[in-house]
């Protein structure tokens, strides 16, 4: 347990999500991570007494998330529900409270995975798990991701409509000042074609780690695969791309074994992409500005012409041909839920990948394809995200200029 609480405290720090996290794990004795602030642990210990849980994570998010959450907590005092896939599928909503007491925290965590705590002296996120502290870590990271996406999406909408409030503008400027500088060049990754399983595994581990390091996915989400002879090698469900050793499944293409029942939920999408679009390596991340632009459509919301947009079903039914660049022939955006269901992205993604070898899924993330190894898909992931980031700010600038 000591190992786990320290591990996830460290991961929160390394991901740039929180500088002083507090991670608690309970079997029969409660343990906190090394260096956890005693003032916080004293306040949080009674939460364990009020709930049937095994793990609890708390922390004041780092910038720009602190600024973003402070603004959103004031804007939506009871909580909010962003439209991205991580929220819709797993978090459902992001509740907010304005008092930091064990009872208030436990009351909300009793019904949802996370709570945003916004008081005059504290801006924090608490999240829990019934199995291990990892659940709290995953949720914490998703709350940051979803809030980021909502905040920048809303700013774009308001700036276009000319309705940016002074508080929103101030928060936006502060958040932007905290954005990490853009990195243009990806690392040099192992070159393909891969001679054997071992070479392929090492290449996957390396590319997965780089995807997290370059902040192209929050650790835990995303997936990676490659095709080797008659096998598809793919990361396991719920694996973190920066911790892949031992967590890659080998799936025979003829389906003759179900030993890869633990493979990523996107196994079908990956195998269909190889079947339809060719290629030998796929990388999937959740880069933030790509996700923001994938959801940016003038036809959404009320007072619009698109019937699907009116019904708020864009993420599963968007009928339009849309591109991240806004122009025909760019990286396409397709609707689709996680997995293989009737609305699953396994139905929409493969065809979209045939042209540019890359496609975004509405509100979810980006898939990129390589012919031999991960150099091409990694650089594509980076370039497309950088392109989206530039386009985002260009759009904001243009709208502000016009106004």
């Amino acid at each position: 347990m000591e190992f786990l609480v320290d591990k996830y405290a460290d991961k929160l720090r390394r991901a740039g999500l929180c500088e002083n996290p507090v991670v608690g794990g309970l079997d029969d004795v409660l343990v906190w991570n090394r260096g956890a602030d005693p003032a916080w642990t004293a306040r949080l210990t009674p939460v364990f007494g009020r709930m049937n849980i095994s793990g609890l994570v708390f922390g004041c998010p780092a910038e720009p998330f602190a600024t973003i959450l402070e603004f959103l907590a004031a804007e939506y005092p009871d909580g909010f529900a962003p439209k991205d896939t991580e929220t819709r599928t797993f978090l459902h909503e992001l509740p907010v409270i304005h008092e930091f007491t064990p009872k208030a925290v436990a009351d909300v965590l009793g019904r949802r995975k996370s709570v945003i705590i916004a008081t005059p002296s504290v801006m924090g996120i608490a999240a829990h798990g019934s199995v291990t502290p990892e659940q709290g870590f995953v949720t914490f990271s998703s709350v940051c991701f979803s809030s980021f996406v909502l905040f920048f999406s809303e700013y774009l909408r308001h700036v276009r409509a000319g309705t940016v409030s002074p508080a929103r503008r101030t928060a936006f400027e502060a958040a932007v000042a905290h954005l990490e500088p853009m990195v243009e060049q990806g690392p040099e990754l192992a070159c393909g074609p891969f001679a054997d399983r071992e070479a392929a595994l090492q290449a996957m581990v390396e590319a997965g780690r780089a995807t997290v390091e370059y902040r192209l996915v929050d650790s835990y989400f995303g997936n990676i695969s490659c095709l080797l002879n008659q096998e598809l090698l793919i990361s396991q469900t719920g694996s973190s791309l920066d911790e892949l050793p031992g967590l890659i499944d080998f799936c025979p293409l003829d389906g003759s074994s179900t030993a890869c029942l633990t493979a990523s939920s996107e196994l079908t999408a990956h195998s269909q992409v190889y079947a339809k679009a060719g290629g030998r390596a796929i990388l999937h991340g959740h880069p933030r500005f790509t996700v923001i632009l994938s959801m940016d459509c003038a036809e959404r919301g009320q007072n619009v012409t698109c019937e699907i947009g009116k019904l708020d079903l864009c993420h599963v039914k968007c009928p339009a041909k849309r591109y991240l660049s806004g122009e025909d022939g760019g990286v396409p955006i397709v609707p689709g839920e996680v997995g293989t269901g009737p609305n699953g992205l396994a139905n929409t993604l493969p065809a979209a990948m045939t042209g540019r070898g890359a496609a975004a899924v509405w509100g979810h993330g980006l898939f990129t394809l390589g012919n031999t190894d991960f150099n091409q898909p990694f650089q594509a992931l980076l370039d497309i995200e950088n392109g989206c980031r530039r386009r985002y700010f260009a759009t904001v600038d243009a709208a502000e200029g016009r106004r």
């Binding site: 347990m1 786990l4 794990g25 309970l26 079997d27 029969d28 709930m51 049937n52 849980i53 095994s54 819709r88 599928t89 797993f90 459902h92 436990a106 965590l109 009793g110 019904r111 949802r112 995975k113 798990g129 019934s130 199995v131 291990t132 990892e134 659940q135 995953v138 396991q236 469900t237 719920g238 694996s239 799936c251 389906g255 003759s256 074994s257 179900t258 030993a259 890869c260 029942l261 633990t262 493979a263 990523s264 939920s265 196994l267 079908t268 195998s271 839920e337 996680v338 997995g339 293989t340 269901g341 609305n343 699953g344």
Partner: protein, 606 residues
């Protein structure tokens, strides 16, 4: 025939307020006096015990010290508030009484359409007491209830019963095993489903109850349809994102047999009566091989979109037959050294027809085989001998029909029974998953994988993965999972869907159905109460620490290491330490007996 609504209303105080989710009426049938009545419980009782396992346990408690075959011992079929609504996987029910096999509480979740029909006919459940002089059936058609002679069905296999009662709606029945008092007897439901474990078929047999049939035409009232629809969407979305349920290798495609290859790959496939954990022929008899050979079709419980059952088209226009579940596939190949899939199918059909629990039968046969080898030296058991032994299990509680523990004890080789509390273990070797080891031991109904289902996180990585070779953290994880599954069996829903969804989403469905604002933690608290109540009932009947243990083999013999995995014997000291932690977390004393303070805290009668 009697109209139950005109009968005297027995039981507990009705409040007169309207309920949604529950019908507020429980049917009582006394087979000795042939009296049919209605019980009404208070709203508070419903809210406290939810339904299914919880409510059945509440009704069982006053009689729990009686022998399992005492006429006053109730047999309870119970639905839950979600049954008959659009909440996903809500078509399941629970059968509960005192287990003939183990003497513990005996509850078994069953699928099919029976629970839905019961609810639609206006009943939350049926409590059956007494003992009939002749073999009878109970027939329910909405409010009409009758006890009819089933003498013409005496001795018949379940297949013939289902055929004979084809126009009676949904049917639960026993085969010859239940009639003859075999302690491995199960209750078959709607031909392809079973209330499998604990020997509950013998309980029906003791009451001379051959079957229960139900057909209902009503609708289940729901407090907030819009909220329920939203909760349903959230749950369905999560299942679609679940590789284990809906992925191309998941349960929806391959049935529960989808885990077969994985268990072998993880070196935890019980082989040769748990003497090893890897079956070299596994690839020849995996789910893919069954699919290639038999082209099974999808099938499942009412109200479920996963449809994890697989059925084989009937031969020559005959009825479709259930394909073996994972445990049956595994126990009738690896555990007994068989590689003939046709034989597995024949065994599955035979056991379903006789009304015998396939897990118990497989493990008992493996125990017999090991003892036989000890006594007579090595010899090969052929198909006809296997089938004959299985037939023998249906003859009564003697010989193999008493389960492996009785058989092994009679042969003075008790270690050869791979069971906990007398219930045979299922197809997950505990040396490959330490949470599973602890969960087998603490299960209130004996060797059961489903009470805490640690396979979810130790193997399937949901909701997150845990290290399968450590006891660290497992005591609380097992305890919370037992609470979760106790409430799942009370709502009632299917445990499989909890590979994907959680109580967070189901609390929304429950609130929408009942109108009672309830959180996930509220439900978990109810689950804790329900599971602790099991411990209290077992405690009254003398169960304690010595029963919360594993067969010796797991502490002294290694499994089959390989493929980069080492399968060591379980460290007994670490196992006992984890059990101690579990006792503290669960609110038990160091002997495993329930603590009074915990009972008071949870509102469980002492």
């Amino acid at each position: 025939m009697m109209n139950a609504s005109e009968e005297s209303r027995t039981g507990l105080c009705g409040t007169g307020q309207s309920l949604t989710g529950w019908t507020g009426r429980i049917l009582s049938v006394d087979l000795s006096t042939r009296k049919i009545g209605t019980m009404e419980l208070s709203h508070e009782t419903y809210a406290t015990w939810i339904g299914g396992k919880g409510l059945a346990g509440f009704l069982l408690r006053p009689q729990i010290t009686l022998a399992w075959d005492n006429p006053f011992m109730p047999i309870i079929f119970m639905t839950g508030p979600l049954v008959g609504t659009i909440a996903p996987t809500s078509g399941r029910g629970v059968l509960m009484t005192r287990s003939p096999l183990t003497g513990t509480v005996g509850d078994s979740s069953f699928g099919g359409a029976l629970a839905t029909q019961l609810k639609r006919s206006g009943w939350d459940g049926v409590v059956i007491t007494g003992q009939s002089e002749e073999l009878v059936g109970i027939e329910i058609k909405d409010a009409e209830v009758q006890i009819v002679s089933a003498e013409p069905l005496r001795g018949l296999g379940t297949e013939a019963v289902f055929r004979a009662l084809a126009n009676k709606g949904s049917v639960a029945c026993i085969g010859p095993a239940g009639e003859n008092g075999s302690l491995l007897a199960c209750v078959m439901v709607d031909r392809h489903h079973a209330a499998g474990r604990g020997g509950l078929g013998a309980s029906l047999g003791a009451k001379q109850l051959k079957y229960l049939s139900v057909s209902g035409t009503g609708r289940v009232a729901v407090a907030d349809r819009i909220l329920l629809k939203k909760a349903r969407e959230d749950i369905v979305r999560l299942t679609m994102a679940s590789p284990a349920l809906m992925g191309q290798q998941g349960f929806a495609c391959f049935g529960t047999g989808a885990v077969f290859d994985l268990m072998d790959a993880r070196r935890m496939m019980p082989t040769d009566n748990f003497r090893s954990t890897h079956f070299s022929d596994a690839g020849k008899v995996n789910a893919f091989a069954y699919r290639e050979r038999y082209q099974p079709e999808k099938y499942g419980c009412k109200g479920c979109h996963i449809q994890c059952k697989k059925v084989r088209p009937g031969v020559g226009g005959g009825e479709r037959r259930a394909m073996p579940e994972f445990e049956t596939m595994s126990h009738f190949t690896a555990l007994i050294g068989n590689t003939d899939m046709d034989l597995v199918l024949e065994i599955n059909a035979l056991l379903n027809d006789l009304g015998i629990d396939t897990i118990g039968a497989g493990a008992t046969l493996a125990c017999y085989r090991e003892i036989d080898r000890q006594e007579k030296g090595h010899r090969v058991m052929d198909a006809s001998e296997i089938l004959e032994l299985l037939q023998g299990m249906a003859q009564g509680p003697e010989h193999l029909g008493g389960g492996s523990r009785r058989y092994a004890t009679a042969h003075e080789l008790p270690w050869a029974s791979m069971s906990v509390k007398g219930q045979e273990l299922s197809a997950y070797d505990p040396r490959g998953a330490y949470g599973m080891a602890l969960a087998y031991a603490t299960s209130t109904r004996g060797g059961c994988h489903l009470r805490a289902y640690p396979i979810s996180h130790e193997i399937l990585r949901k909701p997150v993965a845990t290290d399968r070779f450590t006891f660290s953290g497992k005591a609380r994880i097992v305890k919370i999972a037992e609470d979760t599954n106790a409430v799942v069996d009370s709502l009632t829903a299917c445990k499989f869907i909890f590979f994907a969804a959680g109580l967070e989403e189901y609390a929304r469905a429950y609130s929408a159905v009942t109108g009672l604002e309830t959180t996930a933690q509220d439900l978990l608290r109810a689950g804790e109460r329900i599971y602790f109540h099991d411990r209290v009932m077992n405690g009254i009947n003398g169960f304690s620490i010595r029963d919360d243990d594993l067969p010796m083999r797991f502490f002294s013999e290694a499994g089959s290491s390989g493929g980069g995995v080492e399968i060591k014997p379980i460290n007994r000291k670490e196992f006992y330490q984890a059990r101690e932690r579990y006792y503290r977390i669960r609110g038990l004393d160091e002997r495993g007996k329930p603590l009074r303070e915990k009972a008071d805290e949870l509102g469980v009668a002492w």
